[in-house]
Structures are given as C-alpha cells and as structure tokens.
Symmetry: C2
Subunit: 203 residues, 2 copies
DNA sequence: CTACAAAGTAGACGGTGACAACAAAGTTGG
DNA sequence: CCAACTTTGTTGTCACCGTCTACTTTGTAG
C-alpha cells in the first residue's frame, strides 16, 4: 500500500494527489505569489485532469486554507525549535524568537500573507485554531519576561502585541523592498533591544 | 466644455471615464479587496463597453498603479495635515504622525497593500516616486527629533525604519483582526512612547 | 471641409474556477 | 468470489475575466 508511483506508469488513481497538490501549491506560492497559483496549472503539473483537485479541495480557497494551516504549524515548529536552542536568559530567548519569526516571515512572504488573510475569513476557524499555537508561544515568553523582572508587569498583551507588530512590520518592509534583506537581522536586533529598554520597569 | 453629463442622456463619449473608473475602482477596492476588482465590472457600472477602460488604462495593472499613486499622494496630504495641526514639540508631532499613518493604513487597508505591492514591481517607478514624499516626511521628523536631542544621533534610518515598521505592524494586526480596531490608537500611543524611551540618548 | 486623433464599441481568444455527468478503481459485505 | 458501494479521476460545459484586433463615432486642427 501507498507505494510510490513508478516513473512512466500512469495509474488511474494518482495515489498522492492531495499531498502533491499541497507541495506543488506551496512552491508556486513561493515563486509566483498567490495570484499565480491556479488549480488547473497544478493539475497539469501533476499530470492529472483539470477537475481532479476538486475531489480533495472543493474550492480554491480550501486549498489556500490548507496551505495556511500547515503554514502555521510550520511556524510553530520553527519558533519552538529556536527556543529549544537557547539558554534561559530572557533577552536571549526573545532575540532568538524574534529572529526566527522574521526569518520565517521573509522567507515565506506570500505564505505568511496568506496565513493572516485566511485566518479571519468565514470558515477560517481551522486556520485560526492553528494560529493560536504561535500566539500562545509569544505570550508565554512575555509572561516569562515579566516574571524575570525584565518587563513591566501588567497588560502582557499590549507589550507582546507591540513587539509582534514591530517584527511583522520589519518583515513587511523587507518583503516590500523598502529595506534590503541583509538589514533584516540587524533591524530585529536593535528593535528587540529598544523594546527591552522601552518596556523594562521604571527604575 | 467638461459639462457634467445630464442624467438620461448617453453621449457616445463618456467624458469623465478615467476619473469615474478611478473613483469606482477605489470604492470596489475598499469593499471587495483587490481580487474583487474587475475591469469589466467597472465598465458595466459606468455604463460603458467592456473594452472602453482600455483607452485610459492599457492594463489592469495600470489602473491599480494609478490607484496606488493617488493613494501615496493622499497619504502624504494626510500626514502633512496631521503635522500642521501640532505644536513644535517632537513627541507631540511624532504621536500625531504615527496616529495619522495607522489610521490611514487601517481605513484604507486594501489600498495600502496595493500601494506597497505596486511600488517595487517592474514599471512601478511612478508609484515609487509618489512614495518618496511620505518617506521623506518621516525621515525629516526623525532628524528633527535628533536635533532636539530626543533621539540618539546617528543612523537616522534605522530608528525611523523601526518606528515605521511598528506602525505598519500595528496596522497589519488591526487589518488582520488580530487586534480590535478600538485598540489601535492606544497601541500606537504606547508604541511611540516606548520608542521614545528606547531610542533616546543614553544618560 | 477634410483629414486625423481620441474615445467608445463589437467580437474573438485563451485562461480560469466551478459544476454535472460519467468512468475506473478500490473496498466491503454477503 | 462477486456484487454493491464509495472514492477518485475524466470529460464536457458554463460564466467570467483580461487582452487583443478591427471598426465606428466624435471632436479637433489644419
């Protein structure tokens, strides 16, 4: 079962169509943006009829939503991996997460845009749930910072939101060619430093 | 000349097609997003044949670029108006510009996205030039802040970029429904405060 | 007044997402 | 073992869209 299709043979059933569609779609998304992603094109690329994708994704949106969902899962993995590699010091952990996030956001620009766009449109509950994980992680980090005394206590949401907004904005500037990609990590570094200086408890 | 078309009459020449297209397109952009903007639809709405828009905009992109260009002009106007109303104190001026920008960015979400997307694609030089104004304004403000001693001297770009990124990110969070719109102005306020605290000269 | 340019019209082409009817290949129960 | 059923893929169709070409109408300048 689940044998990889031998090259040259064209069995009536593709066998991995859903996975193949997602994989090809993600590549297309990266290369041509969301507008350059056509169901018929994907079908052609996978050597399948133009209506075949419909069996797995009733809708173009459904495919995009699925991409967004796996995108959030991947983001969550990336962020947790970044945290796993660091010591316990809050500043270091914050730096690691911030860098990892903006890196993901710039290396998967179209995907990230899709993720946020899909999250809050009707029927995007699955996507929204997938997004919870990443947000929760950032909030935990903020709470840890407050516990360590590195951040002002109270209203953890606002502090976390502003930091998150800054990272998101840096990614937007890079993706929008306002800023060259080489400046990304440097900007993130000074941004988190300034954030720490600006949000630390008053002396 | 340039008489407003009387209701009921359908002169062969529309007379205000270009302006009408831009106006209708901007409304559609606001209501349905860029994907819901169809040239044929606009033509129908203006009671004109499907190929008529082509005389004024050779391309769908040309129409979108024109929208982006006027968008930057409007943004520039909004920002300068916000500055004109304030005293000379740097913190106050910064607050005013920041609030005005994020307000524009959230009230014209699809337009802003279009503006940044159009700016750096091939042939988007006119749009890019239109964008210069707004950027220059922010940079001037930063330089003023440094002159007043409210900001660290040197590398005005990075400080300005980070602030700009934060505002852009706050707008993105509001537009992405991560944050309710009522929180917008409050977030901007604390963000600029933290920015001032984080970027002021070391004592 | 006539030639020409500008602005709008009509029709066609290829591409796309959606849908319906049908066919092939697994799967399952007797 | 085979017949019903479900899953998956195919073919054909429809409406819509952006773009292009050829044509018509209108305004204008020589």
């Amino acid at each position: 079962m689940c044998r990889v299709p031998e090259t040259g043979e064209r069995p009536y059933h593709h066998g991995h169509l859903r996975a193949g569609l997602l994989q090809a779609a993600e590549r297309r998304l990266r290369e041509d943006g969301v507008d350059g992603l056509s169901l018929r094109d994907l079908a052609r690329e996978l050597g399948v009829s133009h209506a075949a994708p419909r069996r797995h994704f009733p809708d173009r949106r459904a495919l995009l939503d699925a991409l967004a969902e796996t995108g959030f899962a991947r983001l969550d993995t990336v962020l947790r991996a970044a945290l796993a590699d660091t010591a316990d010091d809050f500043a270091v952990r914050l730096q690691a997460v911030a860098t990892a996030y903006t890196r993901f956001a710039t290396e998967n620009a179209a995907l990230l845009e899709l993720m946020f766009r899909s999250k809050h449109r009707p029927g995007g509950e699955r996507v929204a749930r997938a997004a919870e994980g990443a947000f929760a992680l950032v909030n935990e980090l903020i709470v840890q910072g407050q516990a360590e005394g590195a951040l002002q206590a109270g209203e953890p949401e606002q502090a976390g939101l502003i930091l998150f907004a800054t990272l998101q904005g840096i990614a937007a500037l890079v993706n929008g060619d306002v800023v060259p990609p080489e400046m990304r990590d440097g900007l993130v570094e000074t941004a988190t430093e300034q954030f720490l200086r600006g949000a630390r408890p008053l002396p």
